[in-house]
């Protein structure tokens, strides 16, 4: 009776949920289902990332679409007996929004999911990514079939141009135009590449797409290859993504078996193969010319452009590189039409964008939203606001290449132009939320330390410039800032942006420049008053114990790792500043709020 299950349990097996033992949950479910004689009625399906990573492991039960979160192996016997056998959904495993006490039973009623609009992630949590039939059942490979049987390469390119799709990897270059350059370039061999060397701290959009719907990317590449005239494509996959690697390799095997890759695809006479290359482990490999160098077996260093890869890329042949998410949009545009796609979004930014929403926000996870949505909607309606009722200070978009957007600009629409206007970028879609306890100078220093470490060293603006900017920032956070430092940082930042060889250097100063622009007062406080307003920079803060509040309970003294807190029992305690390492343990253990930071 295998084809007629009455219930499907979709268990998230994205990297996040797997690390929270969702594979054990699948085993436990199958055990209990078998024990209760339900094996012919209920099917357990492993899916890709569901997006609501903060609350994993996640199970969604269809047909009712009941959403279970934070499920553990011990919950499974109860879940099977109550819900699967008796039809009574288990309340204690449902999501309860922080502001209410009532659990929300179904997925579509949860704020996190309600405001999202899914194109690239439309199959997440609904299909088994390791089963090509499930992808096909949801309309998969229909776009490729249409492109190969009904359209000329020129028509495909026109369709992508008309859709308004722009690169989702960061720069936002029109995809159709990029394809056209490569198609028109002279060369017998042409190549296409899928860039899945995702390296921004806190970003995991590409990994998630690869894990939850690898066929979508393969189908996009088949369509692109046909449009451009490529016979072979590469997927350049970050080496730290073993699950994505496993799934994409399986997907390539299945697609080849079905004749959707390889020779004579769908009987149309078109040949196209895909191979997967594991990344070389450096951030700069995400830059297209470095990536090509790495594919060729060279040291991954950027090359001067022009010539652009569209003219001279992999082994000197015309090459087209797009990001995972860009490829993922392509099948939908071809299957549903450019007009449908361009109806979503703003004047200049069409469709949706996937963001990994992380940092000081209640619902961390992966979200897909229409272009033009306000930052406020993402952070408050989808993200559920800031934990512990703290105030929002800034949002960082675009990772280490992006900028910090202050809370006062929360109502700007999220599109390529608006973000650029305020000094940030869309980037590949990292979105880090920061609360009032974040020091913006320290944030700028952190991001710059990342790009500094990842600079390949080929050009001096990036190699030397980021190093000196980082030294200045470090001095400021240590209370050794000089009055002229802010102007110097601005001057150097602008210069590096103009002169660095590739995107890494061109964007590295962004976090510094935007924090100076929007949070100049914090820089001034560090330099002039030797104070860190957010009370983060250790050199600029002191811990003291309030005479009024201290009860002499001795807890702080017992926990102090440096043993510099002294005081008799039931008498006021004192911190010896000379030995204090400012770890903050005394403050976190004090039950009377007696430890003050200044």
């Amino acid at each position: 009776m295998a084809s007629q299950y009455r219930m499907n349990l979709m268990v998230c097996t994205g990297t996040g949920c797997v690390s929270n033992k969702s594979l054990n949950i699948i085993d436990a479910l199958n055990r209990e289902i078998e024990a209760n004689g339900l094996a012919e009625e209920v099917q357990v399906i492993p899916t890709g990332c569901n997006g609501f990573c903060a609350n994993g492991p996640i199970i969604v039960v269809h047909p009712e679409e009941i959403f279970y979160q934070l499920v553990s192996e011990e919950d499974i016997p109860l879940l099977v007996e109550e819900h699967l056998l008796k039809g009574r959904p288990v309340q204690k495993l449902m999501y309860t929004p922080p502001e209410t006490k009532n659990p929300v039973p179904t997925m579509s009623e949860i704020g996190f999911f309600k405001k999202q609009m899914l194109i690239v992630l439309s199959n997440r949590g609904i299909i088994d990514p390791e089963n090509i039939d499930e992808y096909i059942a949801r309309g998969g490979y229909k776009g490729a079939a249409k492109a190969l049987t009904e359209m000329t390469p020129e028509q495909i390119i026109e369709e992508i141009k008309a859709s308004g799709l722009r690169g989702r990897g960061g720069a936002g270059f029109p995809t159709g135009k990029k394809w056209e350059f490569c198609r028109n370039a002279k060369g017998d061999e042409k190549y296409i590449i899928c860039n899945c060397d995702e390296g921004d701290p806190g970003a995991f959009m590409d990994r998630s797409v690869m894990e939850s719907d690898p066929h979508e990317v393969l189908e996009g590449m088949v369509i692109g290859a046909r449009a451009i005239g490529a016979k072979h494509g590469f997927i350049y996959l970050r080496d730290e993504y073993p699950l994505a690697l496993e799934r994409v390799l399986k997907a390539i095997d299945q697609a080849t078996e079905y004749g959707l890759l390889g020779e004579d695809i769908l009987g149309t006479g078109f040949d196209f193969t895909i191979s997967v290359n594991r990344g070389a482990g450096a951030f700069v490999c995400g830059e297209e010319t470095s990536l090509i160098g790495s594919l060729e077996g060279m040291v991954p260093e950027p090359r001067t452009r022009p010539p652009y890869p569209a003219v001279s890329g992999y082994k000197g042949s015309p090459t087209n590189i797009n990001n995972v998410e860009t490829w993922g949009n392509v099948p939908h545009i071809i299957a549903r039409g450019a007009k449908w796609f361009s109806g979503i979004g703003t004047e200049t930014s069409k469709g949706t964008k996937v963001f990994s929403l992380v940092g000081k926000v209640n619902n961390t996870g992966l979200v897909e939203v229409p272009m033009g949505i306000k930052l406020r909607e993402i952070i408050y309606d989808i993200g559920g606001g800031i934990p512990d009722n703290k105030k929002l200070k800034a949002v960082q978009t675009g990772g280490p290449s992006g900028g910090c957007i202050p809370a006062s600009l929360l109502d700007i629409p999220v599109d390529y132009e608006s973000l650029k206007e305020i000094g940030s970028i869309m980037g590949s879609g990292g979105m880090i939320v920061m609360d009032e306890e974040t020091c913006m100078v320290e944030v700028a220093r952190y991001f710059l330390s990342f790009t500094l470490g990842e600079s390949c060293g080929k050009c001096s603006p990036c190699r030397e410039g980021t190093y000196h900017m980082h030294t200045i920032l470090e001095n400021i956070t240590k209370g050794k800032g000089r009055e002229e430092d802010i102007e110097l940082l601005e001057k150097m930042g602008t210069l590096i942006k103009q002169t660095a060889l590739c995107g890494l250097g061109n964007t590295a100063p962004n976090p510094v420049l935007t924090t100076i622009k929007h949070f100049r007062d914090e820089y001034e406080a560090h330099i002039r008053d030797k104070k860190c307003p957010a009370k983060v920079c250790k050199a600029l803060i002191t811990y003291t114990i309030s005479k009024e509040k201290c009860t002499g309970c001795t807890l702080c003294a017992k926990n102090c790792p440096s043993k510099v807190i002294t005081g008799e029992r039931k008498a006021v305690h004192v911190i010896d500043q000379s030995g204090c390492i400012k770890c903050g343990i005394c403050k976190s253990v004090c039950r009377f709020d007696a430890v003050e930071v200044e």
Partner: protein
């Protein structure tokens, strides 16, 4: 097996049952009440009978699901049939023969089995 474009539709067709289940798109929904009382009077057999009828008719757009006790424990096993756009109908004291008739006439034939029906509509929830 190498596919031709038209084979994509065949796979979609073959998978229709699970697609419908996950998308919640259905023409009719059968809910078998599986409280302790329902289970004690044989609701499991009723559920299996509905599933067998669904399989037999290849009725991919019919959902068979379960819920808790309907409140009328002395008349279990019970099931509720809801056709799209129509009020739900409750059937009580079900047997496998009754399930066969209800499935054929009500679910497939879209005509309520009057003499077996207990009530139409839901209780009001205040």
């Amino acid at each position: 097996m190498k596919l031709k474009p038209e084979d994509l539709d065949k796979i979609t067709e073959r998978m229709r049952s699970s697609t419908a289940l996950r998308e919640g798109a259905c023409r009719a929904k059968i809910t078998v009440h599986m409280g302790t009382c329902g289970i004690a009077t044989g609701a499991r057999g009723i559920l299996k009978a509905f599933l067998a009828k669904k399989e037999e008719n290849r009725a991919d757009d019919v959902l068979v699901t379960t819920s808790g006790c309907a409140g009328l424990c002395s008349h279990e096993p019970m099931a509720t049939i809801q056709l799209e756009g129509e009020p739900p109908v409750k059937y009580a004291e079900l047997t496998e023969e009754k399930v066969g008739r209800i499935f054929d006439e009500h679910v497939m034939g879209r005509k309520m089995v009057k003499e077996l029906a207990l009530a139409i509509g839901n209780e009001r929830i205040i």
